[in-house]
Symmetry: C2
Subunit: 230 residues, 2 copies
DNA sequence: CGGACGCTACGGCCGCACCCGTAGCATGGG
DNA sequence: CCCATGCTACGGGTGCGGCCGTAGCGTCCG
């Protein structure tokens, strides 16, 4: 049975709160030990070990030994996409917002700017997408997006052209709906390239969590380059 | 808590075999009654009713009353995308195929040609994508795809141009990895338009399941138009 | 209007699997 | 060489949730 049981199998894997917390902790792309993940999930290390064995067996998580430590990370960016896709469906995205939209007071930093495995999300990610869209550098619709000729020039000036390859054909950028802003931001090759460049310029800096902080240089650079002021 | 519990909540919803079977039965886009879905899942009607209440509450399923019947269908095409996305991850797509790749002997018709909510999948869907790609009518990469100028002309001749709108800008087609063929096929606006046109021409016909049968006219048309012989 | 049908609401049963004890194995450092 | 560390392997306890009884309400036909 390929499809029906597969759905249930993967769903049950994601469905357990402990495993869900671990996967969420891994969403920034880092590699963590079983002990660290156990703390994230709020369970004992041996419990976490069992969960990790299941996740590895299903191909969602990859483990690599390094000395006497064993680091666990998501198996691929595709897994991160899947998890973000699932997280979008919290309580009927389209229809009636049943309970009043609960804005988590705790994670303001996460809502402001965070990494989504390999690109930016939150107000930072949405802001960049909006800026590129408003200036006619990209075009988006429900299925995907492309970089315009003017956008190619802009990206070249921003210093990400090399990272995107020199192929003359159009570049694709995958829109990725944001769970906090409920609006699309840029993933795919373009999203990766922009995020890498921002780290390179030290406009943003990683924290201990998925949230990223915007440096003073970043405030200035984002305003001058994209017209964003956070 | 927006993300972590959301992951677990939706995951647990998909994770139950009963609910997974119901969702799978709804993947072709039809609306079914609670009784029919109960039979699909192999549970009693009142059990199915409880499951459906949960799915509706979470916004995955929509219910509409019609006389004394209550029809249930997926809330949106986006839900169908999610379920297909989840189903792709059966047993580590990328790495080692743990058990020998079990080809379901039962569902040969499904592997050959089926609907994926609003577009074609299986060998039919992959074959169409391959044909368009080989003839230079579309371009694909990991993040998305576009229709070329030659492709625009071809689609116009095939009779789907009107359905896609007359806007001069490029059309986007979302690649959708197939769980049986493990290769991309066409979803999005383009995939929908092609599928609709094939039904219109009576090249394919719906069956009682998600599988579709290819008519004699379809065999001929697919061969002449796309060079596909199934 | 009476009967049949379709569905939902409540209660108890039961089983799965999550969870954490302790024990045992591999790796690295002193 | 011995000890410390990190992890996995088994065992039993427990709680959540699926499953199906019966009961009750609304909707359509004769």
């Amino acid at each position: 049975m390929p499809s029906p049981n597969a759905l249930a199998e993967i769903g049950a894997l994601i469905g357990d709160p402990g495993r869900a917390n671990m996967l969420d902790a891994l969403l920034d792309g880092r590699a963590l030990t079983a002990r660290e993940l156990a703390e994230c999930a709020g369970v004992a290390p041996q419990t976490a070990s069992g969960h990790l064995a299941q996740l590895i067996d299903a191909g969602l998580v990859r483990m690599e030994r390094q000395g006497r430590h064993r680091y666990h990370r998501l198996a691929s960016a595709e897994v991160a996409r899947l998890l973000e896709h699932v997280a979008q469906f919290v309580a009927g995205a389209g229809s009636t917002p049943r309970h009043s939209v609960r804005t988590g007071p705790r994670d303001l930093a996460l809502r402001m700017a965070r990494t989504c495995y390999d690109h930016f999300a939150g107000r930072l990610g949405v802001g960049i997408a909006d800026a590129l869209l408003a200036r006619g550098y990209i075009e988006l619709d429900a299925d995907g997006g492309t970089v315009t000729d003017a956008g190619q020039d802009f990206l070249h000036g921003f210093g990400v052209a090399a990272r995107l390859g020199k192929r003359p054909r159009r570049l694709f950028c995958r829109p990725c709906l944001d769970w906090s802003e409920r609006r699309p931001h840029l993933a795919g090759a373009l999203g990766i390239a922009i995020a890498c460049r921002c780290f390179e310029l030290e406009w943003v800096r990683r924290t201990s969590t998925r949230a990223v902080t915007i440096t003073a240089a970043g405030q200035r650079g984002l305003r001058e380059t994209f017209g964003i002021s956070l």
